[in-house]
């Protein structure tokens, strides 16, 4: 007892320290037990439970089916299929209406207006061919599928289906050496990867949390669903008779989403076997009661919260991107535009991957927001590949039905089925958007892991598309 009695805190700490030796080793458990006992007692006094078996049964029965070993996965696939089928087949009509309005009517009208007030060609090109067209494409391509997809997804979420998905996937995550709650942060990533990365906070162990952060990018996000849906319905759906087109395109999108989930497991397993070795921690997952979704409110909030937010983000990025793209396509250096130089430079590499220069440039332009991949590709294809007629508003292309227009545009850009498939693959497997990268940096506080999270997926994407392209061409040459 030679401690000087100057600091009361030290005294308290030493008292606590010495008492800790007196009390049981299982202090923590005793503490928790005391709380539980008292909580149970108070709850019991205040609650009257019914004599007969209550209606919990409905939830139980439903859970038995939804989370069963036999039916769990097939049901999940069927639900996903229904959501995408409704999205794809429902989005066609409004999409083509918007395209007619904004592209076929709006664009020539604005051009005429500009001409009548004698606007110089460069300003008119910059504003109308650049900024307006980029925005118009974003709206007509993205708004309809999003306005259908997000409310449907939100309805499933409100009903209480998502935790069941997590429950079904939990076992697979654990086998991959990751935390079962990663299923929840992954599901969140299907909305937005930045939000998914933040959602990993529910995982206690730093090792498993890092795995969840690094692999969240493989959950297809808001910004990438439209790309998948559009390309699938144009190229994959076109392979089969019209009645089957919706179904087959939905199948393709679900396939890509599942590939993403598979890659999540694969990379989680890889990480947990190599750089992030460790024990899997256990946890309990609560299955919330099923709640009848409030349909109108859900539609309202999901359109406001998700659809319009995502659309607005796309427009905000599309406006300057449109302007820059127009400039880069019209500023001529040594006989070719800047965009042309860049595309030509990347073209050989793009072709090696079964893509092309335009697509690679689009993915660079779209680092701030995945949403603008498709609009950028369209802009660049129009501006560079010599498809004219947009400016005059008199091109044959624009007299066709909207989906066909886009298709015609892609074909003019030299696209094949391989290009479409590899674009879908590369859209799944490439770097996260800059918002997500920033979030990863904030959450991990580590430059090293941020770099890995950003670069590893791109390298994987290159590898996957390269292999697919080579195998595809080999088979083609054999046929």
């Amino acid at each position: 007892m030679t401690i000087e009695k100057t600091n009361p805190l030290d005294n308290i700490l030493s008292t606590a320290q010495s008492l800790r030796w007196e009390i049981d080793v299982d202090f923590h458990e005793k503490l928790t037990e005391s709380i539980y006992t008292d909580a149970a007692q108070i709850a019991d006094r205040a609650t009257t439970r019914p004599e007969e078996k209550p209606r919990f049964d409905f939830d139980r029965t439903l859970d038995k089916i939804i989370t069963s070993k036999t039916w769990g996965f097939p049901l999940m696939l069927v639900l996903l299929m229904i959501v995408f089928w409704l999205t794809i087949s429902g989005a066609n009509v409004p999409s083509s209406m918007l395209a007619t309005l904004l592209l076929d009517t709006g664009h020539p009208f604005l051009k005429g207006l500009a001409a009548s007030i004698g606007m110089p060609w460069w300003l008119d090109g910059f504003l109308i061919d650049g900024m307006y067209m980029a925005t118009a494409w974003v709206i007509s391509v993205m708004l309809p599928p999003m306005a259908i997809f997000f409310p449907l997804f939100t309805l499933l979420e409100d009903f209480g289906y998502l935790p069941r998905v997590a429950f079904n996937l939990d076992n697979l995550f654990r086998k991959s050496g990751a935390h079962g709650k990663q299923a929840l942060s992954m599901t969140m990533g299907f909305g937005c990867n930045a939000a998914g990365v933040v959602a990993t906070r529910i995982i206690d162990s730093p090792r498993e949390r890092l795995i969840a952060i690094l692999t969240n990018n493989f959950a297809l996000c808001n910004g990438r669903w439209p790309t998948q849906i559009l390309i699938a319905s144009l190229f994959i759906g076109a392979l089969v008779p019209a009645q089957l087109a919706g179904f087959v395109s939905a199948l393709a999108v679900v396939g890509i989403a599942l590939l993403g989930i598979f890659l999540t497991f694969l990379s989680s397993r890889f990480l947990s076997k190599t750089v992030l070795k460790g024990e899997v921690s256990t946890f309990s997952l609560e299955l919330p009661p099923y709640r009848p979704p409030r349909i109108w409110q859900t539609i309202y909030t999901s359109i406001i919260d998700r659809t319009l937010v995502v659309l607005w983000r796309a427009i905000v990025f599309a406006l300057p991107a449109g302007a820059v793209l127009w400039l880069s396509a019209n500023v001529i250096i040594a006989g070719t535009s800047i965009a042309g130089h860049l595309i030509n430079f990347l073209e050989p590499f793009g072709l090696l991957l079964g893509l092309n220069g335009v697509i690679l440039v689009a993915f660079i332009v779209a680092i701030p927001a995945n949403e603008i991949v498709i609009p950028t590709i369209m802009m660049l294809t129009v501006l560079v590949s010599g498809v004219t007629g947009v400016g005059e508003g008199a091109g044959v292309m624009f007299e066709l039905e909207s989906g066909m227009e886009t298709m015609a545009l892609f074909q003019a850009g030299g696209w094949t089925l391989l290009t479409a498939v590899n674009l879908m693959l590369f859209s799944l497997i490439h770097n996260p958007c800059s918002t997500t990268i920033y979030t990863i940096y904030k959450e991990t506080g580590s430059k090293k892991w941020t770099w890995i999270a950003s670069l590893a997926p791109v390298i994987m994407g290159f590898a996957v598309t390269f292999v697919v392209a080579q195998v595809w061409r080999l088979i083609e040459s054999l046929l």
Partner: protein, 274 residues
Amino acid sequence: MTTNTKEACETCPIHDAAALKKLGVDMAEFDYVVALAGNPNTGKSTVFNALTGLRQHTGNWPGKTVTRAEGGFEYGEHKYKLVDLPGTYSLLATSLDEEVARDFILFGQPDVTIVVVDATRLERNLNLVLQVMEITSRVVVALNLMDEAERHGIEIDDRRLARDLGVPVVPMIARQSDGVPELLQAVSEVANNKTLSKPYRVKYTSPELKRAVEKVSKEIEAAYPELPNAHWVAVRLLDGDERIVEALRKGELGDLKHGDLEQRSANLQVFGNQ
């Protein structure tokens, strides 16, 4: 909000409920800070939306809110800042979301903490209520999801519960905004010191434990008379919680001004789904 005539109903406490002004994200010059705690998936975000008029997306799954959301409302001539904390089962701070919730209740020293409780799972939810009440006595329990409890044939005697817990208990169906006026009234009464709570204290089964906690908490009370939760701090010290030792050492627990709260808010501010 001016009163024109003195009518009988104006003297009724519920009268003020009509005067709820949802301020959304406008939180300038608030008088009181109210924290919103609760187990995951009990409808915290729904209560948050009902009070602030904001439309935080509410999802039916635990872990939906991992960050903090803030909003404001005005009621009975006072402005309140409402902070929606991540849903947690306990405040033992084993994961980041639990730490965010606990640190806010502990260091942010909110004027009132609303604990949203799932009426169908009362027992498990009360664990958190008891833990929150160890830290602060300024608690209001929002007994939410009463409709689901009814659907399952569970009856809850909320007055008995309030008496046992020693804090106000408000039955609610937040999805339909049922019970919001009563909740506001209870919150304002706690904030304005019109309700004096006598929170239930957990009884320790082992006598050594009880003696140890009492001994340490006496010393803490003597050294830090300002500390509102000496008992809880004693338990944490006996449990060997380094974070609390550090907080005592830095004086984070002793006297804390609202300026620090702002500082912490900034530290915890996260973008994403807010």
